[in-house]
């Protein structure tokens, strides 16, 4: 009988003891769902359509102005030799070197900063604030500041001149870093046979150029602005380490470096992976700095896929190709995220062999925390 009453109540939507909770729940979620749906889900679908179309920006992409062209846009980027392919290949190369340098350096720098400000210090608040401050300022302001610092007659070159060196013209210098180094070593700058093979419209020799001197400015800027944020992440990780572990290691006679290498690093391994993952996701998206700073110049050596996607669509009205670049970039980011995930999972297992084994007994609780990944 009671079951029957329950069913009747359900049917007539009479409030039970929890009142109109279901209604309220959806009502509370409604704005978020609508906005996320309208400005994320729906537009992604629209952009997917555009990436398979020849839409040129006139009228609505859903109307008569856009025609289905299949994979043509993707082919233009990946397989058909031409300007699109060359630009895209160049942008990928530029961003690849940017990621390759920024991610390890910012991880190491922010970890170093965190270790430094995790000591018992006077003015520790001041130091933390100083290192974190660049993270809160806008990319526009920081980029302008770096344009000034690295201008040919700017602060950096002035400093270099005191040291008796002549600085490059930085943001105006398209030479690849590796090419420059090879040049110093006397390697022929024409690239020899490497100049004849092409991948994504870019010669092998150019693939090996390394980041341009101009791109190096953005690399330094990225480290400068993000190291504070990641320092805070590492600091949180370090503060979770029980100090008795460090003390035990110190009593064992471990040097500072050995302690860092064999105690600290394994214990904050989860944070390291978080920082690397966030770093990978962030660095593949570099846009603001390029937009404000160089718009891809000199000689396209600071062109990035994100900026190229924007430029191709908004300035050249080649929306199909622009959207296709965005989707390929999305794929790249997903790929790297997944790869880091997998590496993390494997790395969690591997280091067990090398884990810190104190010769003095430490409490069980601490011993278990030495295990890498335990705090994940």
């Amino acid at each position: 009988m009671a079951r029957g009453a329950e069913a009747v109540r359900r049917r007539f939507r009479e409030p039970g003891i929890r009142g109109h909770e279901a209604g309220a729940g959806w009502l509370f979620l409604l704005p978020v769902i609508v906005i996320l749906g309208l400005f994320l889900v729906v537009p992604i679908a629209m952009a997917a359509w555009v990436s398979f179309s020849d839409w040129n920006g006139n009228g609505s992409p859903l109307g008569a102005h856009a025609h289905w062209v299949g994979l043509a846009n993707y082919r233009d980027l990946l397989t058909t030799p031409g300007l699109d392919q060359n630009n895209f290949g160049t942008a990928l190369r530029n961003n690849f070197y940017y990621v390759l340098l920024v991610v390890p350096i910012q991880t190491a720098v922010s970890l170093g900063l965190a270790v430094l400000v995790n000591k018992r210090l006077k003015f520790v608040g001041f130091f933390r604030t100083a290192f974190y401050f660049p993270s809160v300022t806008s990319s526009v302001a920081i980029t302008i500041l770096f344009l000034f610092l690295f201008s040919p007659t700017g602060v950096i070159n002035k400093l270099l001149s005191y040291a008796g060196a002549t600085g490059p013209s930085w943001l105006y210098d398209p030479r690849g870093l590796f090419h420059v180094i090879l040049g110093q070593l006397g390697v022929n700058q024409s690239g020899g046979s490497l100049a004849n093979g092409f991948f994504l419209g870019v010669s092998y020799w150019d693939w090996l150029a390394g980041p341009s001197i101009a791109m190096c400015v953005f690399i330094i800027m990225a480290v400068f602005t993000t190291s504070g944020t990641f320092m805070l992440l590492f600091l949180a990780g370090l503060q979770n380490i029980d100090d008795s572990v460090n003390e035990a290691a110190a009593l064992d006679g471990a040097t500072e470096w050995r302690k860092f290498r064999h105690v600290t690093v394994p214990m904050i391994r989860p944070t390291i992976f978080t920082v690397v993952t966030l770093g990978l996701i962030g660095t593949w998206q570099i846009f603001d700095q390029i937009y404000v700073g160089t718009k891809g110049s000199p000689s396209n050596t600071t062109l990035t896929p994100a900026f190229l996607s924007f430029d191709t669509s908004f300035n050249n009205n080649n929306w199909g190709v622009g959207a296709a670049i965005a989707f390929i970039l999305f794929g790249i980011i997903v790929f790297f995220t997944v790869v880091t995930r997998l590496v993390t999972r494997n790395a969690d297992r591997v280091p067990r062999r090398r884990r810190f084994v104190p010769t003095r007994p430490i409490s069980d609780q601490n011993a278990s925390r030495v295990e890498p990944g335990g705090a994940a």
Partner: protein, 391 residues
């Protein structure tokens, strides 16, 4: 004011776990009823079903003559005191107490009057403008009480309201809650796992185990006539001694044998040749044999003595087999883990019994001792069902 009726109420969770199992019970108008039992016995679930915080899977709950099954909490006219007090941390004491009045759109003037009156009852007149964070544990508990009192509800519900206080304050607040309840004569359901709290506060006590109501009676009745092994071992501190006994004929009458001890058995409880039964002896039913020479005796060796001032608890190892049924062990909630382990480790032929002796009796560990047994106050239970066996 109103009574509360549980009519065959069950609560089944999504995973099939039955927290409350066919509970029928009625609380009289103005009565103070305590739900007691070990953790997981369903007492809190039952309380939350009265409050409307937990759906009722089956059966009916009535407050007065109104079925409240589908009524949201605010329409039930009940007030609840939570174990962690659940005060609103950002509101002052006055705002905490007055929140329910504000929700019910009680006019400001009247609300103020009622808040002040309540503050007097709970003795926090000087603290009305403080926030919970600035109060001691006892004061917070009073605010939680005040929040219930100011409502003038039909029913007070209290969920282990004293368990976060230290022992001394707990005793004090116990008396205070009883006083306030008597003064206001509001029907009260009080949940606790502490049988002392249950015995001292409740007009009637409902003992629950694994979702099932075991016995619902006045505290003294529970103590004197426990319905089953669980209630017998749960109620009373120290717990009742429960030993296994075999029924035999002794001259004209019947007797029950516990190891080497033979105690008279009233007619009609059990027959010779039946399976063994459980025999319960309260610690105070055991005495110094020298003072009552005509009573039956149990001999043994003193294992430990706890002096409590006016009396002493004497642990005596006797010849006999302890009853280690699950319901007995579950009832021994006050026993410490070590004690339980010791009880379980007994080789099956030696049992430790507790006797409550006068302080004057001189006993020392390892001494042999003779205890007298007050045969009028023995309890008998079916070993299999756990049910009390009565003449």
């Amino acid at each position: 004011m109103a009574g509360i009726t549980f009519d065959d109420v069950s609560k089944t969770y999504g995973d099939g776990f039955r927290a409350v199992d066919h509970l029928s019970l009625s609380v009289e108008d103005g009565e103070f009823v305590v739900l007691v039992g070990p953790s997981g016995c369903g007492k809190t679930t039952a309380l939350r079903m009265i409050a409307g915080l937990e759906e009722i899977s089956d059966g009916q709950i009535r407050i007065g003559d109104r079925v409240v099954n589908n009524l949201p909490p605010r329409d039930r006219d009940v007030a609840m005191v939570f174990q962690n007090y659940a005060l609103y941390p950002h509101m002052t004491v006055a705002e905490n107490i007055g929140f329910a009045l504000r929700m019910r759109k009680v006019p400001k003037q009247e609300a103020r009057r009622r808040i002040e009156e309540t503050a007097r009852v709970i003795g926090l007149v000087d603290h009305l403008n403080r926030k919970p964070g600035q109060l001691s544990g006892g004061q917070r508990q009073r605010v939680a009480m005040g929040r219930a009192i100011v409502r003038e509800p039909q029913v007070f519900l209290m969920d282990e309201p004293l368990s976060n206080l230290d022992a001394k304050l707990r005793v004090q607040m116990r008396a205070e809650i009883s006083r306030i309840q008597r003064q206001l004569a509001v029907t009260t359901v009080y949940v606790t796992h502490d049988q002392v709290e249950a015995m001292t506060m409740g007009d009637r006590v409902a003992v629950m185990r694994r979702g099932v109501l075991q016995q619902f009676d006045a505290p003294q009745r529970l103590y004197e006539r426990p319905a089953n092994l669980f209630v017998a071992s749960f109620i009373g501190s120290p717990a009742m001694n429960i030993l296994e006994g075999t029924v035999e004929r002794n001259g004209d009458g019947l007797a029950v044998r516990l190891g080497s001890t033979v105690l008279p058995l009233p007619d009609g409880v059990a027959q010779p040749g039946d399976k063994p039964i459980a025999v319960g002896i309260r610690p105070e039913a055991l005495g110094d044999a020298q003072q009552s020479p005509d009573r039956p005796r149990v001999g043994g060796r003193v294992a430990a003595v706890e002096a409590l001032g006016p009396e002493q608890l004497v642990y005596v190892e006797v010849d006999g087999q302890p009853v280690l049924a699950e319901d007995v062990l579950e009832g021994l909630v006050d026993a410490e883990a070590a004690e339980l382990a010791e009880i379980k480790d007994a080789d099956g032929r030696r049992a430790t019994v507790v006797a409550r002796l006068e302080a004057s009796a001189s006993v020392k560990p390892d001494d042999p001792i003779q205890l007298s047994v007050d045969a009028r106050h023995l309890h008998f239970f079916d070993l299999e069902t756990g049910a009390a066996l009565r003449a």
